[in-house]
């Protein structure tokens, strides 16, 4: 921007969590290139889990720091620490699911060589030789890095870079399913094309905003809003286009159509990761853009968010009713859930921020759990995702079915689950902001949603199992642990949410 770029003074300690993940991802690429095939998987597992746990430890160690780093490009404040913490914890659970390789007799959830054409001779050969790929891991870590940077970015350019670092690996990961590869590749391609499209929106919006404010720094945009409060097409256009780019990632209506296809087609561990962690990162970034940069014109975007949130909740809930595939149903459910979170975001208040953060934690872990269960219910062709195939699951595997029932009740917002506390907090925050109509729509949507959540419970517990029904694979310790964590968080946040609420409350406000 200026003729002379000053050499930035960087305090590396607060950035340590991101640096650890980034370093591990790069080393992972090197491992893929140079390590012998047999050593790759153990090395990658050590790298992935080591870096994620290490990054979380560093985050906790540095959690008291509140500063802007790298010449104001990255901001470390309470919400960013919380969001990075959620992303890391969810990533650890997702890594447990990705590492699972006992479910499918042929190997893990990923295609042996993603480059082989589906149904080709190459593919058969790779499968019969028992190839497993480990490129998944560095891709996964890069995506985690993007998710950590996304809500911590303090200007539009860094935010865009983070968006792409997060998304590009996901496009690839979505296309790597071992089973039903056509569906998976179709999903990846759609996700990529539409994702690129939405990135263009974001970029164009950033350019317009720069045109208005003369800066891409969030604090600078906020200052420009107070300095020149006049109406500007550049400002409105910039806000709208940036909003579209982020709402796409969140999966809000009417930018949601990729969600069911991609969630259905992707390998279940990746679907779990996307459904949970991308939403956390994207909502976090949206919160920062709207609250910090565009906080001065909240009256403009608040109404827009109400419309989007209302649409998202209704469309997600209504369409989910008639889904016959469990992954598609969960996809529409996650659309509806995004709507509920947006209700919290639209409150434009501290209560709204806190409620949204809590909802993200609750939603993230519950969602991880649901997809973990989906990955366990299988028949000879892979996962049995027809809801009708789940009939009588409660009698065949009562423990697993009970776990899934708990997740469904949480998503439906039944008390003593995390979902209830989350819904209550976002609705309360929205009511305090006088958004009565949105809250009414939200409550209406939650009745409709209860219908399809309960339908699964009824099918599992109150129906006879079909003759050739799927069986539940006994998971290894990894998936069991992931499932146990998800259930524990879902129940504990419903019964004893106070410690987490306190944590969020202490985290405080965005640094401008």
């Amino acid at each position: 921007m200026n003729e002379m770029m000053p050499t930035p003074e960087i305090d590396y300690l607060p950035l340590l969590p991101m640096i650890i993940v980034a370093a591990a991802a790069v080393i992972g690429v090197i491992v893929e290139a140079f390590a012998p095939r047999r050593a790759r998987r153990p090395l990658q597992l050590v790298l992935a889990f080591g870096s994620l746990i290490g990054a979380f430890a560093a985050l906790v160690w540095q959690s008291g720091v509140r500063s802007t780093e790298v010449e104001g490009a990255v901001v470390i404040d309470g919400p960013s620490v919380i969001l990075q913490g959620i992303v890391l914890l969810l990533a650890i659970v997702a890594a447990l699911l990705i590492s699972e390789r006992t479910l499918d007799p042929a190997g893990d959830a990923f295609a042996p060589r993603a480059s082989a054409l589906p149904g080709s001779e190459d593919e058969r050969q790779f499968t019969s030789r028992g190839y497993l790929q480990t490129e998944v891991w560095p891709l996964f870590l890069f995506s985690v890095l993007g998710m950590m940077l996304f809500p911590a970015a303090n200007n539009l350019l860094v935010m865009f870079v983070a968006l792409e670092v997060m998304s590009l690996p996901l496009y690839l990961l979505a296309g790597m399913a071992r089973r039903r590869r056509l569906l998976s590749q179709e999903a990846a391609l759609k996700y990529f094309i539409l994702g690129a499209f939405s990135s263009a929106f974001f970029l164009f919006g950033s350019a317009l905003t720069y045109g208005y404010a003369g800066t891409i720094q969030f604090s600078g945009i906020a200052e420009a809003l107070t300095a020149q409060p006049g109406r500007s097409a550049l400002l409105v256009g910039g806000l709208a286009l940036i909003g579209v780019g982020m709402l796409f990632k969140i999966g809000a209506v009417p930018f949601h159509q990729w969600v069911p296809d991609v969630y259905q087609g992707s390998p279940s561990p990746i679907t779990a990761f996307m459904a949970a962690a991308v939403k956390v990162a994207a909502i976090g970034a949206l919160l920062r853009v709207l609250y910090v940069a565009f906080g001065g014109i909240r009256w403009d975007w608040q109404f827009m968010l109400w419309v989007i949130a209302g649409l998202t909740m209704l469309v997600g809930s209504i369409v989910a009713i008639s889904q016959s595939d469990i992954k598609r149903m969960l996809a529409y459910s996650s659309i509806a859930q995004a709507g509920f979170i947006l209700v919290g975001v639209s409150a434009a208040s501290q209560a709204g921020l806190d409620a949204s953060l809590f909802y993200l934690i609750a939603y993230g872990f519950t969602t991880m759990g649901t997809f973990a269960v989906v990955s366990l219910v299988r028949d000879s062709t892979g996962e049995a995702t027809k809801i009708s195939q789940w009939a009588g699951l409660g009698r065949k595997s009562p423990v697993l079915a009970t776990c899934f029932a708990i997740f469904m009740l949480a998503l439906a917002g039944i008390p003593l689950t995390s979902g209830f506390v989350g819904k209550f907090l976002v609705f309360e925050a929205a009511l305090a902001a006088d958004a009565i109509v949105v809250v009414l729509i939200g409550v209406l949507a939650s009745i409709i949603a209860a219908f399809f959540y309960v339908r699964v419970i009824v099918v599992m517990f109150f129906s006879d199992p079909p003759e050739d029904g799927p069986s539940v694979v006994i998971p290894s310790a990894a998936t069991t642990l992931a499932l146990a964590i998800s259930v524990a968080v879902t129940v504990i946040l419903g019964v004893l949410p106070q410690p987490v609420l306190d944590l969020i409350e202490q985290a405080g406000v965005f640094l401008g």
Binding site: L183, S198, V236, P260, V319, I321, A450, F451, F462
Partner: protein
């Protein structure tokens, strides 16, 4: 207390009692909840190991809770009337900014009578279930669910704030669905469970909206602070809160227009019908309204709607009960009708609150008695529930017959048995407020006499119409002893509560002061009511004295309608279910079929890679993108419109 309270507040408002800290025997209030919860946890998590002794543990926890409840009652009676409300805070549940919800319990006179009803009737039903469910392979789970229900119901009545009450509210719902669907091998049971869940969700939404509105209005959800400020809120706000609370009550208590699930709920085992769908859970709506008396006092509109809903349901239930041939469904109709009486009483305002609770208590006892009696008959008849297949059972099942007669005399209100006291009080209070409601109450009492007499004649008198291989036999002592206890309770609870327990004086600190003695001479009104009841009885005797055909006769229009539960299913289906499905399908057509309709089939398309990819590139992704552009335009337009406005 009465003097100072009345001086401080308007004369009919409930008097707010300060909560005393829990000490002495009250210090272990949480144990009441913990006992059944412990039982449920052991039974449901313990697996098959607990099969043998689990059911006994389930009974033991509830009986212990009942014993503790009685100890609490004795201690409470020893306290002065104005120190009987006890509060115990367990921990801070949700606290964000100005929003506080404690996990805190409150035991006052109103909670106390509920705790006694739940634990004592619950104990009897648990013991009875030992016999009734003897041969069921899953009976461990059954007792686990029953214990879970008791814990949730106790939480509902012991909560000291609306949010915690909501937890209990959903908890009893959950236990109820699990128990309705307990016999999963019957598809009708699974369907009934789902129906109960969905219809109750509508009511629950009323409650959650009410809680939010309460918080926004008063800044708190704790009962004592809300009621203390109730007088300051505007009447419109109070009306909205009141109507939303009424919606909640309609869902849980099967009141019009959310009554349809209760008849289907009879698919559950009979002890469940007795405990949950007659004695306790379905009265939670009455509890909610009476508990929120301070809010309803400020809104004549909401109170009137409450009374109207009560009147409608009272007649609906009575008419349905008169036509059903299934003994449990007839009793379910009767339950709806009797809860209608309670809702009417609650809708009369402070004058009726006490009578609502009074009738709730006597009804809890005699309806549990009737249901368990019906269960004994069904048990003896090898699962037959059609009364047209009964007849002449009084000789085969003497104890059941005699105890059922106790419940019968109580429900139709023959003096000096329970229903006489409680129902007549409601009718009396209704005449004080509005003579139309009073007349309706008298008429419904007549219909009660009719359908109950019909039930008695079809079941115990006349000729035997049993199916060939059925040999009715009296049930075992484990079932008949609870019946005998409840039978005695049916006869005398009413008198005991009036003459010995002084129910009116006991509840006064919670429900507010009673108004002046009633103007209409009591004797005259009682005479009229009794005459109408006897006319109903006489019509039933005249109609069913002679032979009862095994196949139901054609019947007139009203009979046919009543046999079909007044077409509530058809109405719900046409008004709610079909439109929702149509809407969903419509959305799907746009969202799913047209745009990516081939996704479902794509798994089978192993070949044709290029064709698929081409389709993706040229067709579908493009239309998604098009929609995104449309969405972007929408976002921009909304932003601009907001700017300009």
């Amino acid at each position: 207390m009465i003097g100072t309270g009345a001086a401080m507040l308007s004369d009919s408002a409930p008097v707010l009692q300060p909560l005393a800290p829990a000490s002495g025997v009250f210090a272990y209030l949480w144990v009441l909840l913990a006992l059944p919860l412990f039982g449920a946890a052991v039974l449901l998590l313990g697996g098959r190991r607990t099969n043998r002794w689990g059911p006994y543990l389930g009974c033991l926890t509830v009986i212990t809770a009942a014993a503790y409840a009685i100890a609490l009652l004795v201690s409470m009676m020893a306290l002065p009337a104005d120190e009987r409300a006890i509060g115990q805070s367990l921990y801070s549940w949700v606290a964000v900014g100005s929003f506080q919800a404690e996990f805190a319990l409150q035991l006052d006179q109103l909670s106390m009578v509920f705790v006694l009803l739940i634990t004592i009737v619950g104990s009897l039903i648990h013991v009875y279930s030992l016999g009734y469910m003897e041969h069921d392979v899953d009976r461990r789970k059954f007792f686990g669910y029953l214990n879970l229900f008791i814990a949730a119901m106790l939480l509902l009545v012991l909560a000291d704030n609306y949010l915690l009450l909501y937890v209990g509210w959903e908890g009893v719902g959950l236990a109820s669905y699990l128990l309705i669907g307990f016999w999963q091998f019957k598809p009708s049971a699974a369907a009934a469970a789902k129906k109960a869940f969905v219809m109750n969700r509508i009511g629950d939404v009323g409650l959650s909206l009410a809680i939010m509105l309460i918080f926004v209005t008063f800044g708190t959800v704790a009962f004592d602070s809300v009621f203390a400020q109730a007088g300051q809120a505007s009447e419109t706000t109070l009306t909205w809160i009141g109507l939303l609370l009424l919606l909640a009550a309609c869902g849980k208590s099967a009141q019009f227009p959310l009554q349809a699930w209760l008849l289907d709920a009879m698919e559950g085992p009979t002890p469940v019908s007795a405990l949950i769908h007659a004695a306790t859970m379905v009265t939670a709506g009455v509890y909610l309204i009476v508990r929120s008396g301070a809010i309803f006092d400020g809104t004549a509109v909401a109170l009137t709607v409450v009374a109207i809903v009560g009147v409608i349901t009272m007649f609906l239930g009575a008419i349905i009960g008169s036509a059903k041939d299934d003994i449990k469904k007839a009793l379910a109709g009767s339950t709806m009708s009797q809860i209608g009486y309670m809702i009417i009483a609650a809708g009369l305002g402070p004058i009726g609150y006490v009578f609502a609770i009074f009738h709730l208590l006597t009804h809890g006892v005699f309806k549990a008695n009737l249901f368990l009696g019906a269960g004994s008959v069904i048990h003896g008849m090898d699962g037959q529930q059609d009364m047209r297949r009964y007849g002449a059972l009084r000789t085969a099942m003497v104890v059941t017959w005699l105890t059922f007669m106790c419940g019968y005399l109580a429900i139709i209100g023959i003096p000096p048995f329970s229903g006489f006291f409680s129902k007549d009080d409601i009718i009396h209070a209704a005449f004080e407020k509005n003579w139309i409601i009073g007349v309706c109450g008298v008429l419904a009492a007549g219909i009660t006499g009719f359908y109950m007499t019909r039930m008695i004649i079809m079941t115990f008198f006349g000729k035997a119409r049993w199916e060939d291989d059925v040999h009715p036999h009296e049930s075992k002592p484990v079932m008949t002893i609870p019946l005998i206890i409840l039978g005695i309770g049916s006869l005398f609870t009413g008198a005991a509560l009036v003459y010995w327990g002084d129910i009116v004086g006991w509840l006064e600190p919670v429900t507010g002061l009673q108004e002046e003695p009633l103007a209409i001479p009591t004797i005259a009104l009682e005479g009229i009511t009794l005459t109408v009841v006897l006319i109903g009885v006489a019509i039933a005797i005249a109609k069913y004295r002679s032979t009862v055909p095994v196949e139901p006769p054609p019947g007139n229009l009203l009979t046919v309608a009543a046999r079909n539960s007044l077409y509530d299913d058809a109405i719900n289906d046409a008004l709610v279910v079909q439109p929702t499905y149509a809407l969903s399908r419509g959305f799907v057509t746009v969202d799913d079929r047209v745009i990516d309709g081939t996704v479902e089939g794509s798994a089978s398309l192993v070949g044709g890679v290029s064709r698929r990819l081409r389709l993706v590139q040229t067709g579908f992704a493009r239309s998604y993108a098009l929609l995104m552009v449309a969405g972007a335009i929408l976002v921009a337009v909304v932003l601009v419109v907001v700017r300009l406005s």
